[in-house]
Symmetry: C2
Subunit: 248 residues, 2 copies
DNA sequence: CGTTGGGTTGATCGACCTCAATAAAAGTGG
DNA sequence: CCACTTTTATTGAGGTCGATCAACCCAACG
């Protein structure tokens, strides 16, 4: 059974290393220019960094829970986070995957719209929501950036609706792998290697499938030499064939 | 065969009645306070109305096409619009339904992310994108309202992902009917009558089903006295049973 | 070592799709 | 207003993709 801890704010659990910090870290931040922070001038960054705290999460740890009051918002500094919703009968749908540079709490709603779960070691840069909201009111450029991110997220959501509603299992898996690869290249360099920190079940819940179907689809891709299995992910052998399978 | 006209901007076709107009209409606009215009003071409304034009569309008419440059944004004044994406093999996924008060072009992207199609007589209030963008830059309150709408749209998109990925056919249809009813009550008064201007195929493409499955599901709901068939829509006989079927 | 979480694979089942025929509406033009 | 076409809806028969149920493997770990 998973740990399944409840928390009314972004998790400040003993096992989640946290360090309030003042100032200097933003200048060395690895997502400084890929996150919404990029919209801010140096003096504004200072204001932001002064209200921030950092926290780490272990894999499988729940960060925020659906329906709970949202007291904080955060930037993902490293690691991968699943955004999911629960349904009657234990059914789960993963509605998004957050990666380094992504912002958690785009909508600035006062209730969490989804559960956030770490699927690898995760580092967050966390801001109190009221103070972040105040900063937004002051800084239209930050709001513009926030809106840009939200609009981008909406486009991704629409892509995913198409995937969930109208694609076959193998199209889903192939498409997932390609989009994961693209998102990795935005963080690291491009590579035929795709790291997959998600379990088969996580992927199934993202793709609207069962874990068995995901497993079978991977097996078939291995058998057909489209991919090879490597620890912690896959390596793409036949990128052309993979994108044909994804049918974009 | 449908008319299938191509258009690089919001349709100014001869059959789409259009009238540029100055000023006075906003004060009598039926969606004045349910649209993003609500964020604006009277003098700003004046500025907005001076850049606007109105246009009407007949049912089945394509308003904008996916991938085309987006030169205009618009408010829905009346009628219903489907936002859809096309996929290889003629597959279509409806990613959203716009109703009176909704804004088309939330993301302010320069390419249309989807095709917009009228499914009833539609009236739009249209603004040139560059001038609307300039107004946003001037007016943080408008940007805030735009962001709010986009965030709201994102939440709806996440709901829909759950529906597409994890609900059964009858849950999908029941859920669709309830959400349609809820959205109608935001425009009109609450009623057991639900107007459905969409065809079975439109609904199928929205719900990730085939039109036959949608038809069969309706037939079953009629047979089980959950709904009765009325011209142009349905009447809910057993609201309790309907929401059970939707399994919130 | 046993235990536990994750993965694979097989056998079977069923929800939904596909194909097809028919009916009912809704336009369209004489 | 009535034939005629076109669009939309219904219903059936049969097929299939992915789900379900279940057994087993493997690696990590206390």
């Amino acid at each position: 059974m998973p740990e399944n801890r409840s928390s009314e704010e972004i998790d400040a659990a003993p096992e989640a290393c946290q360090r309030p910090h003042a100032g200097a870290t933003c200048s060395t931040c690895t997502v400084r220019h890929t996150s919404i922070c990029d919209a801010l001038a140096d003096d504004e960054i200072l204001a932001l960094s002064q209200m921030s705290r950092h926290a780490s999460y272990r894999s499988k740890q729940i960060i925020q829970e659906e329906g709970q009051p949202a007291t904080e918002v955060a930037n993902v500094v490293s690691g991968i986070i699943l955004l999911s919703r629960l349904l009657a009968g234990g059914r789960r749908q993963v509605v998004g995957i957050a990666m380094p540079g992504d912002f958690i709490g785009l909508s600035m709603a006062d209730q969490n719209a989804f559960t956030t779960t770490a699927v690898s070691e995760v580092h967050l840069c966390i801001y109190p929501r009221p103070r972040f909201a105040a900063l937004i009111d002051d800084r239209p450029s930050l709001l513009a950036r926030l809106h840009e991110s939200t609009a981008n997220e909406l486009t991704l959501a629409q892509d995913h609706m198409v995937l969930l509603g109208r694609r076959t299992a193998s199209e889903k898996v192939a498409h997932f792998l390609i989009s994961l690869q693209e998102r990795w290249t935005r963080v690291r360099s491009n590579s035929p290697r795709i790291d997959i920190p998600l379990t088969r079940e996580d992927m199934a819940d993202y793709l609207g499938l069962t874990l068995e179907t995901v497993s079978r689809t991977f097996s078939r891709f291995f058998r057909e030499k489209v991919l090879i299995d490597i620890p912690g992910g896959v390596r793409v052998l036949d990128p052309k064939r993979l994108s044909e399978l994804a049918r974009h």
